[in-house]
């Protein structure tokens, strides 16, 4: 469902060029749980952002459900992010002033959909936070914050969930809970891509790709 064709990404840092990705080819099938591993600075995050239409490649093209995003204007890319992509980050990025409920519902504001209570409650239940909906993020544990962020990533019913080191800030017990949720989502048919430094978790994914120096090496 997503195809990366010979993706290159070059950043400018002062006078030198940083080649973050140097020709990545990758096909992602619907419903699979994929882990991306590799050393720090290898280009994992860059790849994830390009997959999520948050960043544009310098060269090559991303084909999303058969449609190339190469020449799409920003407004079209926003639409894809809203409708098809869910993002989860290592640092959660919850909004401190909003309740768990409102944090989960936030993307609906941008997709101009009503925040139906039933839907938010279902999502909260799915990540085990149904009793926390009125809490502020500051009252949550790290694991609960990340589960809130996952629910937020799912609120627009995306086709793909992209998680950048979702367990990077969590202990093993909480990491296990997060993994279990991602596993269940992928079993239910959601395409799930996760960057991780945890070899144990990566080993349990259906597919693991390894990135080094901007290239897929296995």
């Amino acid at each position: 469902m997503i195809e990366l064709k010979n993706i290159e990404k070059t950043y400018r840092r002062g006078v030198e060029n940083v080649r973050a990705l140097r020709g990545v080819n990758l096909t992602i099938d619907a419903g699979e749980l994929m882990a991306i591993v590799g050393p720090s600075g290898a280009g994992k995050t860059t790849l994830l952002h390009i997959l999520g239409c948050l960043d544009q490649p310098t060269k090559g093209e991303v084909v999303f459900d058969g449609i190339s995003t190469a020449s799409m204007p920003e407004s079209q890319l926003v639409k894809i992010r809203r409708e098809k992509i869910g993002f989860v980050f290592q640092q959660f990025y919850l909004i401190p002033g909003l309740s768990v409920f409102d944090n989960i519902a936030l993307p609906l504001l941008f997709s101009k959909k009503p925040a139906e209570h039933k839907k938010i409650e279902q999502l909260a239940e799915m990540v085990g936070l149904e009793h926390r909906l009125n809490h502020a993020p500051s009252q949550l544990s790290g694991g609960e914050m990340q589960r809130t962020a996952i629910a937020r990533g799912l609120v627009n019913d995306p086709a793909v969930l992209l998680a950048d080191e979702p367990t990077g800030n969590l202990d093993s017990e909480n990491s296990e809970k997060i993994y279990a949720i991602l596993r269940r989502l992928s079993d239910e048919g959601l395409t799930t891509i996760m960057i991780t430094h945890n070899p144990e978790l990566a080993g349990r994914a259906e597919r693991t790709i390894k990135i080094r120096d901007g290239l897929i090496c296995s």
Binding site: T45, L48, H49, G52, L54, D55, E74, S75, V78, R81, R82, G86, F87, F89, Q90, Q91, Y93, I95, P96, G97, L98, D102, A105, L106, P107, L108, L109, F110, S111, A115, R152, G153, N156, D164, E165, I195
Partner: protein, 388 residues
């Protein structure tokens, strides 16, 4: 999450102290703007009412003294010339005149006490009509030899109603009938007494600084003043509407100056709002990046940040108007202490149109102040903001 406004409001509440201070800046300047705008309305209306209450249509003064008339009518002023003794007779003989009342304001040296009294001679019922706001301890003079003292005069000589008041003329014993409460204006410095007494103390039985005139038919003021000026040499006539105009012009000039100052204050508080929101934007760079990733467009971000500024400006504006309305008496007291010719009664009245206009104005200013931070926020590169 129901709306951008709710999100913006929640964001403002995250930095309560900072938002409160910024909002108070707006509130203060909008409050003053509202007060200045309403003040002018209340001021001119109050002034018109005050002049109308004197019941007089015009004043006759020695020619060349037209400028002192406003001061004379509103709080007494010493005009360095007297009207000729024959003028009063002329005026009384003129047709269409209902009432002519002489007013004598003069300096009266008192050698015994080694000081100079400022005396204000007038018919007492006319005085009461001119100064309805006075709070008098004792009574207004009912007899020939009674005087009414301004607050400072009474303070200076430590006098109470019933005390004798030293008189410069031999064989005349004056008694204090009453004392006027503190006004903070020049009223405090005068000795008020019946016109006849004033004239005899001064030694000119027919003299007057001015003659206040009421006519039978106000539509004929023009004709009457014309015939008077041609018949009596050495006089000048100033109508109450001319007094009104010259004082109103003065007030308008004062208002223009205050408005200029208020506008600068508003600009400064707008810069404060801009700065406060800009800080909030920089602090929330990552959060804004996240919002872009979960589906916010640049325009969405722009609107959220712009809403924050306008909410601050609007709330500040409304608070400012409420404060100005509640604190109106306080502001009036201040204005009375610095401005001459202030009419009694409320000068600041709540006018919905003026309030609405002030809020609309600050809304527009808020929008303008919000544009820069909102553009900045919308240009944040999400990829750089959320480096994982």
């Amino acid at each position: 999450m129901t709306s951008y406004l709710k999100l913006a409001a929640k964001n403002i509440l995250r930095h309560r102290t900072r938002s409160l201070l910024t909002m108070l800046g707006i509130a203060a300047s909008v409050g003053v703007l509202f007060a200045v705008l309403s003040f002018n309305k209340g001021f001119t209306e109050g002034l018109a009412l005050e002049l109308e209450r004197t019941g007089l249509h015009f004043m006759i003064v020695p020619s060349g003294c037209a400028h002192e008339v406003a001061a004379l009518v509103l709080h007494g002023a010493v005009i360095p010339k007297f009207l000729d003794t024959g003028v009063m007779e002329h005026v009384e003989r003129t047709e269409g005149i209902d009432l002519a009342t002489p007013i004598l304001v003069a300096q009266l040296p008192d050698r015994q006490r080694g000081k100079i009294d400022l005396i204000y001679g007038i018919e007492m019922d006319v005085l009461e009509a001119i100064k309805p706001g006075w709070e008098i301890t004792g009574t207004v003079p009912r007899h020939e030899h009674e005087v009414l003292l301004g607050y400072e005069v009474a303070q200076h000589d430590n006098l109470k109603p019933g005390d004798p008041f030293s008189s410069p003329a031999e064989g005349v014993d004056l008694v204090v009938a009453g004392i006027v409460g503190y006004s903070g204006s020049q009223d405090d410095a005068f000795v008020y007494l019946p016109i006849k007494t004033a004239q005899s103390l001064l030694g000119y039985p027919q003299s007057a600084t001015a003659i206040g005139v009421k006519v039978d038919d106000p539509t004929r003021i023009g004709a009457i003043t014309a015939s008077l000026t041609s018949a009596v040499p050495g006089i000048q006539i100033v109508t109450m509407s001319e007094v009104m105009n010259s004082v109103a012009n003065l007030a308008a000039a004062a208002r223009a100056l205050s408005l200029a100052i208020v506008l600068i204050a508003i600009l400064i508080s707008a810069v404060g709002v801009m700065n406060s929101i800009l800080m909030a934007v920089f602090e929330r760079t990552q959060e804004i990046g996240m919002m872009r990733a979960v589906g916010a467009s640049r325009w969405d971000i722009f609107r959220i940040i712009l809403s924050e500024t306008t909410i601050l400006a609007l709330v500040g504006g409304v608070v400012g108007i409420v404060l100005a309305t509640l604190g109106a008496r306080l502001i009036e007291t201040f204005v009375r202490s610095v401005m001459p010719f202030v009419p009694s009664g409320d000068m600041i009245r709540f006018e919905p149109i003026v309030a609405l206009g002030s809020v609309a104005f600050i809304f527009v200013i808020g929008l303008c102040a919000g544009i820069y931070p909102a553009v900045k926020a919308s240009k944040i590169n999400p990829v750089e903001a959320i480096k994982g």
